[in-house]
């Protein structure tokens, strides 16, 4: 039994992987379906809008991805934060923290498998959902360029790596799983507010989250994401350094 196997078992035995895969796959399948049949859905809903008429343009392939990204960035990220906090807030129950801390002197040994396994599960689930959305978009609306989709998946995945690193750093200071979740969500909610100013927004990690929608739609190119990519990589590394320092300096 190693700390790596422990994290793998945490995912499988607690069924957390089902929550991650389930939510991303669900939205991956639902997104293109919604984009393709939104008009019919509104008609079935009654269509009585007190005289107002909604005319929807014919769906285009990029709409399928946009629907997926919209849901994955909200509900999916929330689930990812909860799963990450459950793994990374290892001092939330002090007796469990003592078990590890009195046997492992270097906190990197504890945090590395927790961070890596969580990132793999979150990113893997997001990519799986993205591939499902891509396939269904092709089947229902039309094809999207593979290069654009892969680039979008990579950049959006980088944002998720940042999210898990943020949770790791917060967990080093918060005293509970709930506290870790709440603070992390607060930070993630505040970030897009700064992003309303475009000059700032294109530098923020949250800008990467929408890449899977924007690049296939052609509204932004890969080069538009360079500033946010650089900031996200630097911020992720900094957050991981902070996570190790916070964990090492904590008293139980």
């Amino acid at each position: 039994m190693s700390l790596w196997r422990l994290e793998w078992m945490r995912l499988t035995r607690t069924k957390r992987w089902i929550a991650l895969v389930g939510v991303y796959l669900f939205f991956g399948l639902l997104g293109p379906l919604t984009a393709r049949y939104l008009g019919e859905i509104l008609d079935l809903a009654g269509g009585d809008l007190e005289g107002a008429t909604i005319e929807l343009p014919p769906p285009v392939p990029a709409d399928g991805m946009a629907q997926y990204v919209g849901n994955a960035l909200q509900i999916g990220t929330l689930v990812a934060v909860v799963v990450a906090a459950g793994a990374l807030a290892f001092d939330a129950i002090p007796e469990m923290g003592i078990f590890l801390r009195t046997r492992v002197s270097d906190m990197r040994t504890v945090l590395t498998p927790r961070f890596t396994v969580t990132v793999t599960a979150v990113v893997g689930s997001f990519v799986l959902g993205g591939l499902a959305a891509w396939y269904e978009t092709w089947a229902l609306i039309g094809g999207l360029g593979a290069g654009d989709v892969v680039a979008g998946l990579l950049l959006s995945s980088l944002f998720l790596v940042f999210v898990v690193a943020l949770v790791a750093a917060v967990a080093g200071r918060a005293t509970s799983v709930l506290g870790t979740v709440m603070i992390s969500i607060l930070v993630l909610l505040v970030m897009p507010i700064f992003g309303f100013a475009d000059a700032i927004g294109r530098w923020l990690p949250s800008h990467l989250g929408g890449a899977l929608a924007a690049i296939p739609a052609g509204t932004e190119s890969l080069s538009d994401y360079l500033p946010a990519t650089a900031v996200t990589i630097i911020a992720t590394v900094a957050l991981l350094v902070l996570a190790v320092r916070f964990a090492a300096s904590r008293e139980l």
Binding site: M1, S2, L3, L6, M9, R10, R13, T14, I93, P94, E95, M96, I98, F99, L100, R101, T102, R103, V104, S105, E251, L252
Partner: protein, 290 residues
């Protein structure tokens, strides 16, 4: 094995430990006793590296990897089996897993080792905690109130497990159950409001720190004998306990041994029995912390 010098720990303005000079000899079983809030857990936490002292120094003559710690209420991921928890504990300390079944059997968990610990009772968790503590063959074992929350049977099992560790490791064991300390430990330290008010062998505490007192049975009436004994300057007090028993508090056991028999004879007492009062650790503890 362990030496602390002027160890101080403050939480804000509260002093949890005040200039503690702890001395734990190699191979000893040291009982750290004190009421709740005395600073026992804080001291163990500092020795375990889980907390930092505000000031003072600590010397521990053993590598950090050879120190094992058991918190008062050990908890584990409930979806792991007892075997997996012990395997993880050994893997993180020695790198292998060859002693897992042996220690789990010693802890009485042979039949439960493949069940998830979420279904374990409090006593089973405590025994699993002890098993995880000893699986890595530690040189120094720090146990925080290992049996205080258990029922008598569970307490007995944990004390037996600790007893079996004697000789193979130095044990520092905190408790507020004095009978446990008296049974298991050869050395005792008493913490009171952050002060280490006594440190020494259990015998030294029982004999030296407690008030020396003799229990004398005489043929009634005993009033005159009591009055006569009180005239001696080495007799501090005489309490009558019924018609035929006197509890004589003396300045020292040496005075009592050399003078008490003569004083009783001089008082015309018809002595039935005489002997030093057996002092329990609880009485000694109360004397020291009074």
């Amino acid at each position: 094995m362990i030496r602390t010098t002027d160890l101080v720990k403050r939480y804000g303005t509260t002093e949890a430990l005040r200039y503690v000079d702890l001395a734990v000899d190699p191979g000893s079983t040291y009982g750290l006793v004190g009421p709740n809030g005395a600073g026992k857990t804080t001291l163990l936490g500092i020795l375990a590296g889980l907390r930092r002292p505000t000031s003072g120094s600590i010397e521990i003559d053993v590598d950090r990897s050879r120190i094992a710690v058991l918190p008062d209420t050990p908890r584990f991921d409930p979806w792991l089996t007892g075997r997996e928890v012990a395997e993880l504990a050994q893997r993180l300390t020695t790198g292998d897993g060859d002693r897992v079944e042996e220690v789990l059997s010693d802890a009485g968990l042979a039949d439960a080792m493949d069940r998830t610990v979420g279904g374990y009772s409090r006593g089973m968790l405590q025994r699993l905690g002890v098993a995880c503590t000893i699986v890595g063959r530690p040189s120094l074992v720090l146990l925080d109130e290992p049996a205080s929350s258990l029922d008598p049977l569970g307490r007995r099992e944990v004390l037996d497990l600790i007893g079996r560790l004697k000789g193979s490791a130095t044990i520092l064991f905190s408790s507020h159950i004095l009978a446990d300390v008296q049974e298991v430990c050869d050395t005792v330290g008493i913490l009171d409001h952050g002060d280490l008010v006594f440190q020494g062998s259990v015998d030294a505490l029982l004999v030296g720190q407690a008030v020396p007192r003799y229990r004398v049975r005489v043929r009634p009436p005993s009033d005159a004998v009591a009055d006569a004994l009180e005239q001696h300057d080495w007799v501090h007090a005489v309490e009558q306990n019924g018609a035929d028993e006197l509890r004589v508090t003396v300045s020292s056991l040496d005075d009592a041994e050399s003078k008490l028999a003569g004083a009783l004879a001089g008082a015309g007492a018809k002595v039935i029995s005489i002997g030093p009062e057996a002092v329990t650790l609880e009485q000694a503890f109360l004397e020291v912390t009074r």
